[in-house]
């Protein structure tokens, strides 16, 4: 786990690469100052990134644990901290603590299953970790369908990786869609929820769903219509977190703490929770 002396004390990390994914999303590669990874993690887990004096926030680790060299975070610019992060350059340091929370059950419930990944916008960030984990342990899993949509072509995160790597993997289908027609785009146009319905997906598969709340709501409804079971649909939740360890009292939904008991939940679990997120 974490090499931190205390769960609230972070480690310094160095930004070793920055990829501009979309106009407002950048992917940061972070290493320990002495090289190598800061810590080991599981797909779906998060970590707290902090720019001293600016702020600290929880971000999904987007790289797969199978990557032994570094960790990556895809971060959308939306507030003061993310603005600041976007202004950093390679060689700059941040502090990192984690990993926090649970993870997708890649070694238990997901094993051997057909998997459908459905993501919208920056929602791809937590799923990318699983997608690559599955690719690196391909034999352990069934067919993989990836449905990913965004506002426009320019807002598709990791576009190159998706088209050049994922789409070429065995037993893997990639379905991309954008909300509105755009020059230079030959693919599907339309919102993710409707696209999902058109795709004739295998209702027995396990779904990993992540994206904006409104998309999740409609995709979920669509999936249930198609005969998917809530028991086999996973998503990740995000709430305000300060400590990352379920003690600061912010991130609970009922008696569950998102940062400790989550962020990965099955929809059957979510149904148990009070409607306060």
């Amino acid at each position: 786990m974490c090499k931190c002396s205390d769960t609230l004390i972070p480690l310094p990390g160095v930004i070793t690469a920055i990829t501009e994914e979309t106009p407002d999303v950048k992917t940061f590669r972070i290493n320990a100052p002495e090289g190598g990874k800061l810590f080991e993690h599981m797909p779906g887990q998060c970590a707290m990134l902090c720019v001293p004096g600016v702020g600290e926030a929880m971000f999904s680790i987007t790289s797969s644990p199978t990557n032994k060299e570094y960790q990556e975070f895809s971060i959308k610019r939306c507030g003061e901290l993310t603005n600041c992060l976007h202004g950093l350059s390679v060689g700059d340091m941040v502090t990192v603590r984690g990993p926090y929370g649970n993870h997708f059950p890649v070694e238990s419930e997901l094993k051997g299953k057909d998997l459908i990944f459905i993501a919208g916008g920056i929602g791809l960030a937590p799923l990318r970790s699983v997608i690559n984990y599955v690719a690196d342990n391909r034999a352990d899993y069934g067919n993989v369908d990836i449905v990913y949509g965004s506002r426009s072509m320019d807002d598709l995160v990791r576009y190159q990786e998706i088209t050049e790597e994922w789409a070429k993997r065995e037993r893997t289908n990639v379905y991309l869609t954008i909300d509105r027609p755009q020059d230079g785009w030959n693919g599907h146009v339309g919102f993710v929820p409707s696209y999902v319905k058109e795709l004739n997906l295998n209702a027995a598969a396990t779904v990993l769903l992540c994206g904006p709340p409104i998309m999740i709501k409609f995709v979920l409804a669509g999936l249930l219509e198609l005969g998917f079971s809530k028991e086999r649909i996973y998503t990740t939740l995000e709430l305000r977190m300060k400590c990352g360890v379920g003690k600061c009292g912010r991130c609970n939904i009922g008696s569950k703490y998102v940062c400790k008991d989550g962020p990965v939940f099955k929809f059957t679990q979510i149904d148990e929770l009070p409607d306060e997120f």
Binding site: S5, G53, G91, T95, C248, E276
Partner: protein, 389 residues
């Protein structure tokens, strides 16, 4: 057991303070709070309730976690030093000690909070029997016996004597150390030390039987004194009288039926919350005086060249508590109000073997600016339940 005459409490406190930091109720312009024992302070062991609970001895209102250079090219993190020397907290009441147990389950559960743990390990808690419970007290409802407060040792004042008995090894070692000081300084001609077989049982049933009469009693001239067997009886009778008083207090009989693990599912959505929260000002008074509230915030303090990251108490009643850059899951005060009570009475018990995150200290009753409190919430639902039946 250590006994000392009340007019020699000064000496006892000096003895403790000679060995470690001593934290106890002190008065400042009429207000009693836990504070450090140092010259000039006005000690108020007689005060029943301190304004704040003693929780900040273990979970300070503000606490530095680490400091960090601001130079992003060469960033280094220097963790704050953990508490590494013993200190004593004297005079915590049963409710506050129960509060510590509640906090323990949060901070000492995995992953352990190192800062809290260090303070907890180094802190010696000397509980104190309540002498004059208030009408706002309802600890009994949560199974706290104010005459058996627990802690590492328990102090009780009966007549003109202060008795301290150890409840565990830590307490025992503490008492031995203190007696040594008292003896070596021949300050305590009224100081008696004796061993007990049993420490007070947690549930506060029968207690304190003497193992033998091998008391150590030291007087100024060095002659040994026979233990005062009457003392034990006096102590027992005293506690009994306090217990009788608690039975007369109106809120002690508060019923928790329908809360905790047995809470109905629809409580969260009850329309009653909408009524109950109305007068709430969204201040943090109840939170900050509460012995169990543990929500905190982590903030930066810019020292110019470096950044000091500290954590500080936060309140789920504050409007920005759950505010994020892109939204807020609890937008209304009703939601925040509900969160506080649901947490204390439902979520916490669900996660912690049915133990409530309220100890019945009654501080929220005493201090809420608009007279809201947990008792009103509990009773409102009780009333509603009856009406529904």
């Amino acid at each position: 057991m250590l006994k000392i005459s009340t007019d020699r409490i000064n000496e006892l406190m000096d003895a403790i303070a000679s060995k470690m930091d001593l934290i106890l109720p002190v008065e400042n312009n009429g207000q009693v709070n836990f504070g450090i024992y140092e010259s000039g302070v006005r000690v108020r062991l007689d005060a029943l309730k301190t304004v704040k609970s003693a929780k900040d001895a273990f979970f300070p209102q503000s606490e530095t976690l680490y400091s960090c250079s601001k130079d992003l090219k060469n960033l280094s993190v220097t963790p704050a030093k953990l508490m590494d020397r013993p200190f004593a907290v004297f005079g915590m009441k049963g409710c506050d000690i129960r509060g510590l147990e509640v906090l323990d389950r949060v901070f000492l559960s995995d992953p352990v909070d190192g800062f809290y743990k260090a303070r907890r390990e180094n802190g010696i808690v000397i509980g104190m029997v309540c002498n004059t419970p208030w009408e706002s007290c309802f600890c009994k409802a949560f199974g706290v016996d104010c005459t058996e407060p627990g802690g590492d040792a328990t102090a009780c004042v009966v007549g003109d004597g202060l008795f301290i008995e150890a409840n565990n090894e830590k307490g025992k070692a503490f008492l031995e150390m203190i007696s040594e000081v008292l003896i070596s300084e021949t300050l305590a001609d009224n100081c008696i030390m004796r061993d007990t077989v049993e420490t007070v049982s947690k549930d506060g049933t029968e207690k304190t039987a003497l193992e033998d009469d091998k008391e150590q009693s030291v007087s100024k001239d060095g002659t040994e004194k026979t233990a005062d067997a009457d003392d034990m009886e006096k102590l027992r009778a005293h506690k009994e009288s306090i217990r009788r008083i608690t039975e007369k207090l109106p809120l002690m009989s508060l019923s928790l039926k329908g809360w905790g693990t047995e809470t109905p599912k629809d409580r969260f959505d009850s329309p009653l919350w909408e009524k109950l929260y109305k007068p709430c000002l969204a201040c943090g008074t109840c939170t900050f005086v509460c012995p169990t509230c543990q929500c905190y915030d982590i903030k930066d303090h810019d020292d110019g060249d470096s950044v000091r990251r500290y954590r500080c108490w936060d309140s789920c009643m504050y409007s920005d508590f759950t505010l994020m850059a892109h939204g807020n899951p609890r937008t209304s005060q009703m939601q925040r109000f509900r969160q506080r009570f649901m947490h204390k009475l439902v979520y916490y018990p669900q996660n912690n073997d049915g133990i409530f995150s309220c100890t019945g200290c009654g501080r929220c009753i005493d201090k809420c600016p608009q007279s809201l409190n947990i008792v009103k919430v509990i009773k409102a639902f009780e009333k509603e339940g009856k009406e529904n039946v």
